[in-house]
Symmetry: C2
């Protein structure tokens, strides 16, 4: 019995004491964030599993639900805990609501407990639906506190203001745009709960969540006032020294209330006879706040729908686009310095550990003015480790790399003037025939999507197959999306657009920035992924319609040494040669002479 | 004022007399058929417009809603009628429900009349929804009878039985399969209203609708009995001589009731205290029958959902697949004889009218044993006429063709042993550079889809872009779907699968037959479409999943004389050469010596 199976027994003792039949522990925070502050690393605390997922514990079983990105990791971390892995997005998947309903089929009085703060209303309602309504849901906010004694507090890290010379739009412009939207739709207020939307609206940045420069808060924008629910410097030592940022926000006419007062404020609003309609996304709202709205007995005042901020934020303005180009220039220079360093290390016969490589890359990025940290934890993975798409490089005893096989590095930076996300898979020396074939096929896949031209109105899922077909032709595939939206000095993953198989009707619009990152992963052997960020741009209008295409923002060469040229067609080869030549042209004058020479060699046409 | 604007005034006089504000005239029949017997050519009678669409008439305006396939045709046929064209599936489209709601905004008592027999319940409910419920719907079945004096009767053409040696499954097998499905789902009966599903279930074929070998009827399959609601030979002179077919159906234990009794039977079922659940697709059910179910006050006994027959019918069994191969062999021979004849006519300097060409093709098909007529009206279109994707070749004064430019022929046959659908665009002599470029790009588009390999579970909309991207690359596109399902000696268009931009989650499954027909249309110049039918087949399983691919069923060469080879990549050229060589190999031994020689020349590799 390891420590995690003991912790699961602790949870079960609570089930028995409270007469609950099951408890759902999500990997989520009160804002539905994709990544969470350590306070919400509750699944890792209970189970030792550190990937994404949701956990369900009953008296006689326990299960983790996650998708194919984490199957290998879960397979390594779950044994000994007594937790079964339930695979998501596979044929015949059984999701949590259905699984729970099956466990308690025939019961008339099943009780399922949830932490309403860390679970969305929609996920709870799905459970109720699966039971056909015959279930009692107990909302137990922060129930983990009972056994997780040293659980971290709600974070309250320093806050800074993002200058309008980077943001493009001032917070007054943004608020006035949102109020115009409220007016057009006939709503009187909107509650924003997504942290990146709030940071974008207020032109503030923080570090409450690692890699995501957001501030834990809620924003209530009404026709009358704007109220920001957030831990103030006066209340939280962590925020000391950043009073000026809060002052600047207040000077824009924004009322600052305490983070914990949002429920009360919503309740007051619902009970205000003169208040009209509140707009909120019920599906992403946490179940705790959902109950506040529901318990007010004024549900008719609530209209649910997607936040308009997500789309507005995803379509970058001209200032943001220019800044993003600058960020990619700086980031590309750091990447090329890093790849040069790695090449020389390999040439000299030295070995380099995966972790040392990621530290070196960090060193190059840290030298850039405006660098504010990585945009996510660098995946620095050699050979078989790269077969785990979300491999976490251990700081101790990471694999030693030498001049053979493939090294995958997926990393990105947060800059005052943008966010980057790049993956390069680098041949460190000789590669096997299969490695070379897969390397070339993934590059074809990347290029075919990057070259795409498509009519205005096309959604990512309608062009995802362009990246996959070069792999499908030889019966290969990858189990993750091809592309995700990227924020502006904000979350490296953002919506509403994406490029993946799942139906998502959001069209790709000019100004959106989306990744292009196909891969092939062979468990126990190697993993390959090639990733650039693509800006959607206008490609003109003719009698057949209005056309869009992509323009790569990322500036870093693709290694051509192991390409099997016969597998690529002329258009793909032309694209590759032109891209690499462009990288050299833009970057070389900013690089030391010996690196520029090396880069010229690396970017020679094939 | 032409005859059509006079007829519209007749409809308006009814609006005034009845105090209706608007009337919807659909292009549909009581079964939601895509093509209708002449009795339901009501829009053509009123407006002169003979394409697909729906018409709305109010006291002061009239509008036709249709999609891009018919924009040019509507543009030719509507002028002078006072009817506005409303384009569907374009950005910012306003569909009928929304348009009606906008016309009568502010009214509390708008009255919209519909012919409940020729309109689906869902389309009426969409109107109610658009008005926020504030509308009165009047169900006026067959209201057209009031002014359309010589309106044709409900058709009752001869009926025959399809031998199990073609159908693969006997009607007893099919009924027992459907009853098993009812049992598994917990339903007690299912009402089938789609005519092709009924014909498939009962292994009967008719000719109540031109080109679609179906029988106007309803089928009610319950755990107790099977009731077919249809005009019997004893009641309808049109059916005389086909009593044996009805006897055979009855011998399988099926009760035959009159077509007009279905409403009564449903009403009785609803009011039977011992009856459990009826399964029916409310969205495709006509509004008249919907009202029967609703007025029974027993709505809780009705479960709505897609009919399982559509999917079962779309996945062809082994016997059907073998028969389809035979149909495509015979049809391919007729096509090659036709193309040879056309080639010789052009060579000799003769002109041929579009209509004469379609008649000649009919002659070749008619010589095939088992041929039962075309599967749709042949589109025989020269140059600019081919820019109308659904051009109807006039029998009088159709265009004369001579040895220059492109001729498009889209046609198909119904055979006792299958259904075909093929489009060839044939260069009759020299072509312009633009014609050659478009010809080649459309062929690339066709081939790229035909070559596709994809994982099990992939839907058509997820691979549609494979056919479009070769056109999108040079900012060209086509305004119709890329592929539709094809029935077995049944409707040439069937679901549930398709290959088009619209989200349709139905995966392409082994045994499904789907068309692959991209095109380019240049109004006033020319039109190009290349179409084969593709069978989805298994392509094996490996560590990356379970794979599918396509196998062309159509056997007729693609003309290579005007191809711009530089625009095609090696894989595309290889596919084309292999396809053409295969056509020669399979067909040549069945063709007269001189046609076989000509075909060998036509199928030489490029």
């Amino acid at each position: 019995m390891n420590i995690f199976s003991q912790r699961i027994e602790l949870v079960r003792s609570m089930l028995r004491a409270k007469d609950w039949d099951a408890i759902v522990i999500t990997g989520s925070d009160p804002h539905g964030s994709e990544y969470q502050a350590s306070r919400w690393h509750q699944i890792e605390w209970v189970s030792g599993y550190s990937g994404e997922g949701d956990l369900v514990i009953t008296l006689d079983s326990a299960g983790l639900w996650t998708d194919s990105r984490y199957f290998i990791q879960a397979g390594r971390q779950l044994p000994g805990t007594g937790i079964d892995l339930h695979k998501m997005w596979v044929p015949d998947q059984v999701l949590i609501p259905q699984w729970l309903a099956e466990q308690f089929e025939g019961y008339d009085d099943a009780v399922v407990a949830v932490d309403g703060l860390s679970q969305s209303a929609s996920s709870v309602l799905d459970i109720v639906k699966a039971f056909g309504g015959k279930v009692t849901i107990v909302n137990a906010p922060d129930f983990m506190n009972a056994f997780w004694k040293d659980r971290p507090a709600v974070p309250a890290a320093p806050v800074s203001v993002l200058d309008v010379k980077y943001a493009g739009w001032s917070r007054e412009q943004k608020i006035s745009w949102l109020r115009k939207w409220l007016g057009e739709k006939g709503f009187d207020a909107i509650l924003l709960t997504a942290l990146d939307e709030i940071a974008w609206m207020l032109n503030v940045r923080g570090s409450d969540i690692a890699y995501n420069p957001v501030v834990m808060s809620y924003l209530l924008v009404s026709t009358d006032d704007v109220r920001w629910f957030v831990r103030k410097p006066s209340l939280d030592a962590g925020r000391q020294g950043t009073e000026a940022a809060f002052d600047e926000v207040q000077e824009s006419g924004i009322i600052i209330d305490d983070y914990s007062d949002v429920g009360l404020a919503l309740s007051d609003l619902m009970n205000d006879d003169y208040f009209g309609k509140l707009y909120v996304d019920i599906s992403s709202l946490n179940y705790d706040l959902y109950n506040v709205l529901k318990d007010s007995g004024q549900s008719s005042k609530v209209m649910s729908g997607k936040s308009p901020v997500a789309l507005r934020k995803a379509v970058k303005n001209e200032v943001e686009i220019e800044c993003m180009r600058e960020a990619h220039l700086e980031d590309g220079l750091a990447m090329e310095r890093f790849l040069y360093w790695l090449d020389k290390m390999m040439e000299s016969g030295d070995t380099v550990s995966e972790y040392a490589a990621s530290e070196k890359l960090h060193e190059f990025r840290s030298a850039i003015p405006g660098f504010r940290g990585e945009s996510f934890e660098t995946i620095s993975a050699y050979e078989a480790n790269a077969a785990l798409p979300h491999y976490v490089t251990p700081s101790e005893s990471s694999a030693e790399m030498f001049s053979e096989g493939l090294y995958l590095c997926d990393s990105g930076g947060q800059y005052l003037y943008g966010t980057t996300d790049i993956t390069r898979t680098v041949p460190l020396g000789s590669c096997t025939a299969l490695e070379r074939e897969d390397y070339t096929l993934v590059l074809k896949a990347h290029i075919d999507l990057a070259m795409a031209v498509f009519p205005y109105g096309t959604a990512g899922c309608q062009i995802d197959a362009l990246a996959r077909e070069p792999l499908w032709q030889s019966l290969r595939n990858f189990g993750h999306g091809t592309g995700h939206g990227v924020g502006f000095y904000l979350n490296v993953h953002e919506g509403p657009q994406d490029i993946r198989q799942n139906f998502n009707s959001q069209p790709l619009l000019p100004g959106m920035i989306t990744s292009d990152e196909p891969g092939i992963y062979r468990e126990g052997q190697f993993g390959i992924r090639h990733e650039n960020l693509l800006l959607t741009v206008d490609a003109g209008t003719n009698e057949f319609g209005h056309w869009l295409r992509f323009e790569p923002l990322t500036l870093c060469h693709f290694d051509t040494s192991v390409i099997l040229k016969d597998l690529m067609d002329k258009a793909e080869i032309d694209w590759l040669n032109e891209y690499n030549a462009g990288v050299f042209t833009v970057l070389s004058s900013h690089l030391p002479r010996e690196i520029a020479h090396w880069l010229r060699d690396k970017t020679k046409p094939i």
